[in-house]
Symmetry: C2
Subunit: 357 residues, 2 copies
């Protein structure tokens, strides 16, 4: 029998609160092998204690023992801290989790506005290669960063986007919208997000590589949009967007914007996907302002949906759908945390979802 061993990297702040909520749901959902969990270290607080943000042991354990993982959140010091580098960025690269898939959807029968889109964000390159230099010049310091876009990474993220657009169509046909967190409205469509009117070489290569993949997917429509006007459209006509494929930084920005459409960052899940590993991760951050509240009021939904998304990408489509439905129910009933206007604590919301499973 298959086993399910899941690395739990809570990280900083509310990561420590929302990851246990996801764990409770994974323990309770029927239809998957009984999961076991291993707690792993990473984060800014871990760095402050030990001098390391991402211990090698965490990476080794993920690679040797784990079927999948969940990541909580990481605190971002905005000033430069010598020796510190974001562990989530490092983890995505170390595990070659080349896609960050972020479905943003409204809840049918609850939200006034119909949003059902998935941002497929390239997860390993762009400005995230973090090759930066700085030099003194007669007119002051000049810093430079390298933005890397490769044919290989653009092609594989393109393929992922087309697969997701197709899967969305299939799931939707089988079970109706609410069962899937993939974005889809009508014909499967992939929108390439770029800025090739300025970055004709790098974004030109991204655009061209994704378009080349398109020929393998004759059933999927392809279009494209410059990133600035995409952000404009995101707020003017989000109903018309379905699967977006973006270079790393645009994907980061666009997905936060999309999250605003559905009412709270606390609702939006993601998975980091590689060819042989999956890591769920809520899109929200560590929320230091509420991290120490007792009882916790952190919204567990992004984390719980991320666990479902992780299962979905492992092939456990039915159990994932069950979790999505239970979450949607809780939202419809108003069983939610204060960020959504509710009065419930993290645990209370999780209990409601567990009961509905």
């Amino acid at each position: 029998a298959k086993t399910l061993r899941i690395g739990m990297i809570a990280g900083d702040g509310i990561g420590r609160v929302v990851l246990p909520a996801a764990q409770r749901v994974l323990e309770a959902v029927p239809g998957i092998p009984k999961p076991s969990f291993v707690a792993l270290d990473a984060g800014f607080e871990h760095f402050q204690k030990t001098g390391t943000a991402l211990p090698q042991e965490t990476v080794d354990t993920l690679k040797s023992e784990c079927t999948a993982a969940m990541f909580g959140a990481v605190s971002s010091p905005s000033h430069k801290v010598a020796g510190y580098s974001s562990p989530i960025v490092a983890l995505r690269k170390e595990m070659d989790l080349y896609a960050n898939v972020r479905p943003v959807k409204s809840v049918e029968g609850h939200d006034p506005r119909m949003v059902d889109m998935t941002i497929v964000r390239e997860n390993t390159e762009c400005l995230y290669v973090k090759q930066e230099t700085i030099e003194d010049t007669p007119t002051g310091r000049v810093a430079r960063a390298t933005r890397q876009i490769s044919e290989r990474a653009s092609t594989r993220i393109g393929r992922m986007a087309f697969e997701i657009a197709l899967a969305a169509a299939q799931v939707k046909a089988q079970r109706g919208t609410s069962a899937s967190s993939y974005g889809w409205t009508g014909k499967p469509t992939v929108t390439i997000v770029h800025k090739s009117n300025v970055l004709s070489v790098t974004d030109g290569l991204f655009r061209e590589s994704v378009r080349k993949v398109a020929s393998e997917y004759p059933g999927v429509e392809v279009n494209e949009q410059i990133v600035d006007s995409l952000v404009y459209r995101l707020f003017r006509e989000p109903e018309q967007l379905s699967t977006l494929v973006c270079p790393n930084l645009y994907g980061d920005i666009v997905s936060d914007g999309a999250a605003a459409l559905v009412g709270s960052l606390g609702l939006v899940p993601s998975v980091n996907v590689g060819d042989s590993f999956i890591m769920g991760e809520p899109v929200h951050g560590s929320a230091p302002d509420i991290a120490d509240r007792v009882p916790s009021i952190a919204n567990p939904i992004a984390s719980i949906r991320s666990a479902a998304l992780m299962l979905e990408f492992m092939g456990y489509v039915e159990p994932a759908a069950r979790i999505y439905d239970a979450v949607d129910d809780a939202i419809r009933k108003g069983s939610v945390t204060p960020d959504l206007g509710g009065k419930m604590s993290t645990d209370e919301v999780t209990n409601v979802i567990l009961k509905a499973l």
Copy 2:
């Protein structure tokens, strides 16, 4: 007596329609020296005809003859066209127009949501230095772009942002909100937009340089926000944002997002500002879908407000305020183009504004 000679670079598409509207307003507004105008070439269509997107003659005439300029719009081919490079990006650099100032504000007594912010976008560097390379490797092509952030450019854009935050406070105190297109709510505040949690060297330098300028402006509050969560906040609580200072690309994206808040890109003006030259420019593009409509339905307001902003930055504060008020009146009366739900043509809207001047 001072003379006012204004270079008119209509460019492509609706640029050719909205710039004449701005010219009519500049000809009619009292309180400025009688302006003269010189039509100058640039754009993608000009490139297709002549092989040059930005003729040297345009730059020379601006430098030798003109007090200021207006730029319309430029079409952006999304595929790479050999030899073509965006003339607006080139113009900003050639004329050292280092700041792109984009006020986004709702109209009092009309818009349900109070938005009154100004995006101060660095206009000469970041990824817009357009240093790109591409090479063949065993795993396919790899493209790279350089993102440059200098202490000099970051310092001067920082200073511009603090000046704008202060001027906003002053104008507001004198004339009330509607007289100014600067964003301001309460104490003058500058928000630094960056991503130094990932780009600690380049965005770190931007952040640090702007913060250093802050010490010259003890009356202005400084805070900061990571670009992705800024875009989230932009849509969750835009009322709380006032003056934002951004590296080039973030400023491009954030200002399109902000435009969505006030109902149409067709409303949002900008000025490109250097130490010795000013160029007004609507934030919208060339809108090829409606460019050939007769009569034209292109919204002239962004262009007209850009002309006012140009005057404001040249010191003609009263005439600028008159134009802003006339525009706000037209919006309140519903004398608007179809993008705002109206039925009027470009000329009809312009006539209404001219009458109210």
